[in-house]
Amino acid sequence: MAKTADPDKAAQKTAPSQTSTGLPREALSPEDYHELLMQLYLARYFDVRLIKEKKRGRLRGTLYSSHNQEAILVGALYALKSTDWISPIHRDMPAFFLKDIKAGWDNPDRLGMSIEEVCSQVWGRVDSPGRARDNWSHIGSRANKIIHSTSMLAGTIPVAAGVVYADRLDGGDAVVVTFNGEGSTSQGVFHEAVNFAAVHKLPVITIVENNHWAFGTPVELECPTPDVADRAKGYGIPGFIADGQDVLDVYDKVSMAIDHARSGKGPSIVECKTFRAYGHGDHDDDRAAKYRPDDEVAKGRSRDPIGVMKNQMIESGMLAKKDAMAHPAEGKGAGEVTDHDFPEKVVKYLSAGVDFALKSPVPDAEEALKWVFAEDED
């Protein structure tokens, strides 16, 4: 793909096009487009469903919503092979079940976590991949090539670098995609890891979900450059910029980054510009309303990734306007939307996961003392 050689060009926002652009999306079939739209729905529904479950009192703990940032997860993961690795963080819960889901939502052999496992984690049940030992997004699976993060932001990037170093040594061609907020890029370990990856041309793709806020701190106080992708310049690596509301643009830019990585040219940063639909976590919703400009949410919501994708599909004739309106989830907050705004397949799929989780037991108290050391297994 010629584009990868010129990241600056590739970094420009690209409009969906009729004529050949050489963009990775051109290799996608109409089925892929429909699948992408369906995954956007699924990610969105996961989020609003959890919010509703919490309102209903069936769920405790803090929710870090990925509402409105789904295109980043869906677009990036769609660009991966199943043998690639990922490391999602707090705002990326749907990534755990979206990994490799294109291999079939119910395919028992696909790599990635099942919806049952992810819901079990949300509810702190024993069927969580981590048996509810750590919370929220801190799960992983070596078997499924998902790295178990800690809470410490950016702390998983060096681990990701190590994973692909080992893979390369074993003759593999895996890349790793780490997800990060823009605020996390100020951490020292971000620098150490990206620098190491750049020196060794490791296939590490650092996705920056730039939602312009790190909790209550605006991006200007975290990053001195106009674009967070500019951090790439310090390492002489490509810094792609994607429209985080446009799943196809994310897919294009991440595909270019992967192509760059897999061909041995090394790491890159993909900044996806987006915005945060609610507070930092749901405990922050009220305060966020005070520290954020009034119109920010409304402005952001007007470019809902589901709506953006539908429009592109309508324009390119893949979707009838009428069909597009059958499930009008786009532009709605969690409080406004209902199950009818989502395709039945999505609601059913997720509901099965929730039902499973609610029936999964909490782990036994004695498990707490297990697995401190590896020999404890025996």
Binding site: G124, S151, M152, G183, A214, F215, V372
Partner: protein
């Protein structure tokens, strides 16, 4: 409402901390605050709520998510005449700024042969019992107790929260300050708070939280309250436990413990840090030495098990000290 009536208002632990911050910002124009989300947001838990509006964004700095820079920059400001408060959003994240604390801040006065003191408080929410899991539940104070040059403080109630934080903010040394986040908004233990000099609780002076004669329970932080509950339960069984709230670990008020042991002859130490090399063992070691002749039973401890703090409630309960754990250990010692 008259001034007297207002003074009688009871306030929570968080308010104690907040008042200390406001009063010291007012009193000491050289006090600078650094932390993540402490300005515009007012802190993840609100300890610095409104502080930036009042004192400006030069003195209340919304820092990048960069704990080493937060502490390192704080050290630089202190070197150049400022007093510094660094907030860790959770004390767990202190690990990311660790080198700047133990090797830069802690040693500055020593290696400059007294030329430079670093008046600096590194404070943040700590402790378990809230389902915070591995990275939002830690009590990692032992790391800093083993790093010479740091004071280490942990209040268990609103009066101490305000008084110790005020003392820490006036101390010429770096102080690592553990706040028990589970107590922040606890309404049951609200207290009347003093103001300014009157509120100060000096570092290094323990508090006898409950007077007793059969056993000495030495503790700090949240376990003070479990120990008090345990003392009640013991009372129901006819035993009288003395509960000592250390309030500060470095410096340590050994005299108060020794005095108590000369009465009770039994020592139980309770904290929620991992057992090995934790501060509970340190108290046992010191008392086993200095109080050897006073002890009629082997000194014991109730601590977190040597495991991370897991998330799911039954798991968390297994690893953290409970009232029953304390009662059982105390009974074993008393009946020894």
């Amino acid at each position: 409402m008259s001034a007297a009536a207002e003074a009688a208002v009871k306030k929570n632990y968080l308010t104690g901390l907040k008042e200390a911050m406001y009063e010291e910002m007012e009193r000491n124009p050289d006090l600078i605050c650094l932390g993540e989300d402490i300005g515009l947001l007012g802190g993840a838990f609100g300890v610095t709520d409104g502080l930036m509006d009042k004192y400006g964004k030069e003195r209340v700095i919304d820092m990048p998510i960069a704990e080493a820079a937060i502490i390192g920059a704080g050290v630089g400001m202190a070197l150049n005449g400022k007093t510094v408060m660094c907030e860790m959003q959770f004390i767990d994240f202190i690990s990311c700024g660790f080198d700047q604390i133990v090797n830069m801040a802690a040693t500055f006065h020593y290696r400059s042969a007294g030329e430079v003191s670093i008046p600096m408080v590194i404070r943040g929410p700590a402790g378990g019992y809230g389902g915070g899991a591995l990275y939002h539940s830690q009590m990692n104070e032992a790391w800093f107790c083993n790093s010479p040059g740091l004071k280490v403080v942990c209040p268990s109630n609103p009066i101490d929260a305000k008084g110790l934080l005020t003392a820490a903010l006036r101390d010429p040394n770096p102080v690592v300050f553990y706040e028990i986040k589970e107590l922040y908004r606890n309404r049951k233990m609200e207290q009347e708070l003093e103001t300014g000099d009157d509120c100060i609780i000096p570092l290094g002076v323990a508090r006898i939280a409950e007077v007793g004669s059969d056993i000495t329970i030495v503790t700090y932080g949240n376990p003070v309250h479990f120990s008090l509950k345990a003392a009640e339960k013991l009372k129901a069984q006819g035993y009288s436990a003395e509960v000592i709230d250390l309030r500060s670990l470095v410096p340590l008020d050994e005299d108060t413990i020794l005095e108590s042991l000369s009465k009770t002859n039994r020592l139980l130490v309770v904290n929620e840090a991992p057992m090995t090399c934790g501060f509970a063992g340190e108290v046992m070691a010191r008392m086993g030495r200095k109080g050897f002749e006073l002890l009629d039973a082997p000194p014991a401890r109730v601590t977190r098990t040597d495991t991370p703090v897991p998330w799911a409630k039954p798991l968390e309960s297994t690893v953290l000290p409970s009232v029953d754990d304390i009662v059982n250990s105390a009974l074993e010692l008393i009946r020894y």
